[in-house]
Subunit: 413 residues, 2 copies
């Protein structure tokens, strides 16, 4: 019996096993969410502050950017000044979307016209990347230009060339640490070149989605250079919009998000925010302050997340190595030091078929192409594996299915 025939028989048994495994999104597991149950404890009446600043009430202008303790905590964790921090609601994606919309409607510091008055707006999109970033651009008719990730972040030769010559390139998405999905962390040189490069657009902004700033998986912690410090050195302090949140620290659906930027950008951001809202939920900020306490408390919590997550990431790697081989002819994948994803690259032209066959066998993976703008992977080869939600046993099953279908599709190609 040929290898392919054997594999197809194996696939038949999977089809009959009625699997139902969802590895589509980077969601924390229930076990991780349980780590933050103390967040739900009663908040005591003494904590609210008095009179005009009562946190239960509408906000006051002094608290529009967030509770001082919350700004302090994020500042410590992200190594920035507290006055660079604007605290949002439960979603950093929402802050990113709103930042893009604001730049479309209101001139950024550095230019007199809003992006919306430009003939066209383009963004650089390191690929593979995060689908929800790309959705924001697509929904707002921003043209996306792929830039490959090369292990140290995006291909900086290409980035420099593009932004220097095209004034319509107004922005760039970056997940600089434990990148979604490649897991790589931008090198010091990449951070430095991003800060230093000349841009044809005076209102160019880097959307620095620091989603995995403290999300280590092992004791080996990647170090990301401080881009604000680098920008200061090169006189480009208004270039960066940083975003972060507690979504993968406390509750994914009930956390606290932040926008971090230069003084001028913070003024610009909060001016429009003041027309949009009287203030975000201060009670939830208070809960987070009480629960996390300080940067040290937050890092201790992240260690507990790592203890839950790392066996899952190890299992992905172990099964794939066992089934597909080390230095596999079928696919390559990374073993990240942090973040939420493993990036799995098949032979060109195979990813969509693999995802389809896996889905037919009850293993739902992120849609092939989702890691590229417009959902179009030019090589049809990248698959994002999200090991956080399923159990180790489920991951074992799912990776066995993935291995078998990868071999079938590759051999048939």
């Amino acid at each position: 019996m040929s290898e392919l025939t054997k594999l197809k028989e194996q696939y038949q048994t999977y089809l009959q096993a009625n699997l139902n495994l969802d590895m589509t999104r980077g969601k924390p597991s229930s076990e991780q969410l349980d780590l933050s149950m103390a967040l739900l404890n009663d908040v005591s009446a003494e904590d609210f502050g008095k009179g005009a600043k009562d946190y239960r009430n509408y906000s006051v202008p002094a608290l529009l950017s967030g509770l001082p303790e919350m700004r302090r905590l994020f500042a410590d964790v992200l190594d920035v000044d507290a006055d660079q921090i604007v605290v949002g609601g439960n979603s950093s994606l929402n802050l990113m979307y709103d930042a893009v919309v604001r730049a479309i409607l209101h001139p950024l510091p550095g230019d007199v016209l809003p992006w919306g008055k430009s003939n066209k707006v383009k963004f650089l999109c390191p690929v593979p990347g995060y689908d929800r970033h790309f959705n924001i651009c697509q929904s707002l008719e921003i043209e996306m230009i792929n830039v490959p990730m090369i292990g140290s972040g995006p291909d900086m030769d290409m980035v420099e060339e593009l932004v220097a010559n095209d004034p319509l390139i107004k922005g760039m998405w970056c997940v600089p640490k434990y990148s979604n999905p490649t897991g790589e962390t931008y090198s010091d040189e990449t951070v430095s070149r991003l800060s230093k490069m000349r841009t044809a657009a005076p209102d160019f902004r880097i959307f620095w989605d620091n989603a995995y700033a403290v999300h280590h998986l092992t004791s080996k912690h990647d170090k990301l250079a401080n881009i604000f410090a680098a920008c200061k050195k090169y006189g480009t302090t208004d270039r960066v919009f940083m975003f972060a949140s507690t979504s993968k620290i406390t509750f994914a659906g009930g956390g606290v998000s932040v926008f971090v930027s230069s003084y001028k950008n913070v003024v610009w951001f909060t001016k429009q925010m003041a027309n949009q809202t009287i203030g975000y939920d201060k009670i939830n900020q208070l809960r987070h302050i009480n629960f996390l306490k300080n940067a040290e408390g937050l890092h201790q919590l992240m260690d507990k997340h790592a203890a839950i997550l790392s066996p899952k990431f190890n299992e992905v790697d172990a099964v794939l190595t066992r089934e597909l081989g080390k230095d596999s002819q079928y696919a390559t994948w990374n073993k990240p030091n942090g973040g939420y994803f493993i990036s799995f690259d098949t032979q060109p032209g195979c990813a969509a078929k693999i995802v389809k066959m896996a889905a037919d066998a009850g293993v739902k993976l992120t849609k092939a192409g989702a890691t590229f703008p417009y959902g179009k992977d030019p090589y049809d080869s990248n698959i994002r594996i999200a090991p956080s939600l399923p159990s180790v046993a489920e991951i074992k099953q799912a990776m066995e299915v993935l291995s078998v279908v990868t071999k079938i599709v590759t051999l048939e190609a």
Copy 2:
């Protein structure tokens, strides 16, 4: 000694009394916020739902518009269908702002071009009205046209004439019940005419800010006709965006907001919302469901608010009547059946001076002009009184000061 001299002596004593009273905003008092402390009780683990729908986690598409129980509760309270409801975060203002921005960037059902592609966008603004509505327009360069409130809502002859002839009029702000600040509730005829009127713009929308839908002050409850039912009758079902929230029901800074509209508009609204956020805070929705339970529970809570608020409103009226006289030559004011404000109208040209003199004596009132677009009251006569936050004793002092300065300014004019 002349009347004016006596009044000025009295004012001198106020100046020396070091008062510090803030009646600028419609904020609930601590006593009102205390009514909802049970909202902060532990939420039990069983409430979260399991697996993919775990409310602590990121949302799933089925929950993007809110938890079913939350939508049901608002539907019952607002007399609409649950599938007309989209639950937001802690701020209905935020939903309004986002709705305007979306209409600027994305064509509404009924037209092929977004408002932003129009030469200009205009909104009708019933006056006096809510300053934060006007801020949204001003910040987004929407021209505002004043329409007087006439006791039964806005002057409908003027509204009909304007919207029928000017296709650039794309929207209209309405606080239809216990209006901010006049306290009036739109008559059935007004609601009917708003539903029926011909609009030159096919993508005209009424922003129906139902902020005080259940916020009665006395046992006499104003009845507001159901505008969705009226629109259905006249085939204008896509005309209305309704907004509401629990801001003045539970916690002003930590409540739950809703957008309510036709099926087509809800699809339009949530399509863009899905690019903006994975979902609003579901834990806070759960808290509200557990605490309020149902429409009946919510109405019982509102009775408790009324019991706290009505003595304050009565005190305003009592002091003003005593000091300025019934059918006063100095000013007129209303005695609303609900809402958060009393609208105080001075002789023309007096309001700004009165507010200034009161502030100098430590009584902060809403800035004169704030109830009009661009902060410009054409008659300089409207002052919004917000009695909710101070105590009855403080209101007594503040209204005595207001009475004295009103008399001084009027007599000097």
